[in-house]
Amino acid sequence: MLVEFELIARAQKGDSAAFNQIVQAYRKRILGTIARLIARPDDVEDVGQEVFLRLYFSLDQLRTPEVFEPWLYRLTVNAAYDYLRKQRRRQESRMADLSDQQVMMADAVAGSKLDQEERRRKQVREMVDSLLGAVSEEDRILLTMKEVEGLSLKELEKIYGVNENALKVRLFRARQRVLKALESQSTGKTGGGE
């Protein structure tokens, strides 16, 4: 826990200063999780604010301060899921707005500014994003929380309110789909190179 239980209890009673302290303690961690869940740096703060906005209006529903962190993660997961769903609807129109030439120019400008390390990171981000595209938004989030964020099954159980076995099955299936996507990506690259 990054904050004392007493601070959460105070925020629950409507103490704005206590709420501010909670946000300040957790915002970097939550923004990091969101960045990895949605993979769009420009929108991370917006989604982060949405998480804390939901927290502000749902704090009174929190039964005990002990379950605060799973509660906050649940809000994060839900906000990221809502964002990804909206994004999927917008994606097609947004791509259609840009001509091929504009996309190439934007890439070239961005590419020239990036150093080697940043290019490598960008490559990894794009690769994992495309692999995670093989699964649904729900599974993408679940897999990211487990494999990238490193949350345990026990923690996920508290966040999702689903038993461990159901989570294991869902994670296994999602992972299999991602592995299949990785395989076909490797085959495609090998095939393209020859």
Binding site: R36, E45, G48, K122, R125, L131, E147, V148, R175
Partner: protein, 110 residues
């Protein structure tokens, strides 16, 4: 082998997506959103309260109107039996007469 590669990719992904530092506008922006949501909720609550008050007033007026037009000597002020006796309906007499008939053989068909 592929499992290991995927695990490695996930680890690299974690490093590639660093936790961004919140901008200076993060907290003011958050409070702006909170206040906006609160004002919407407050406006809705006010509207709901006035709606409930208006509905209560209409109901009260309706009840009062019914009371004012209510006739106290109307049929609802006496019981069914009292009304039956008072009306002294001929059907009642016929029914009573029929009950005094000793057997169905006595009943003459008209």
């Amino acid at each position: 082998m592929k499992d290991q590669r995927l695990d490695h990719l996930f680890r690299e992904y974690h490093e590639a997506c660093e936790s961004p530092d919140p901008s200076a506008t993060f907290m003011p922006g958050l409070w702006q959103k909170i206040e906006k949501a609160q004002s919407i909720s407050l406006a809705f609550r006010r509207w709901a309260r006035s709606f409930v008050a208006a509905a209560a007033a209409v109901s009260l007026i309706g009840v009062l109107a019914i009371r004012l037009h209510h006739d106290p000597s109307g049929p609802s002020s006496i019981s069914y039996l009292e009304a039956l006796v008072a009306s002294n309906s001929p059907d009642t007499v016929e029914l009573l007469d029929a009950s005094h008939t000793e057997s169905w053989d006595d009943v003459e068909l008209l």
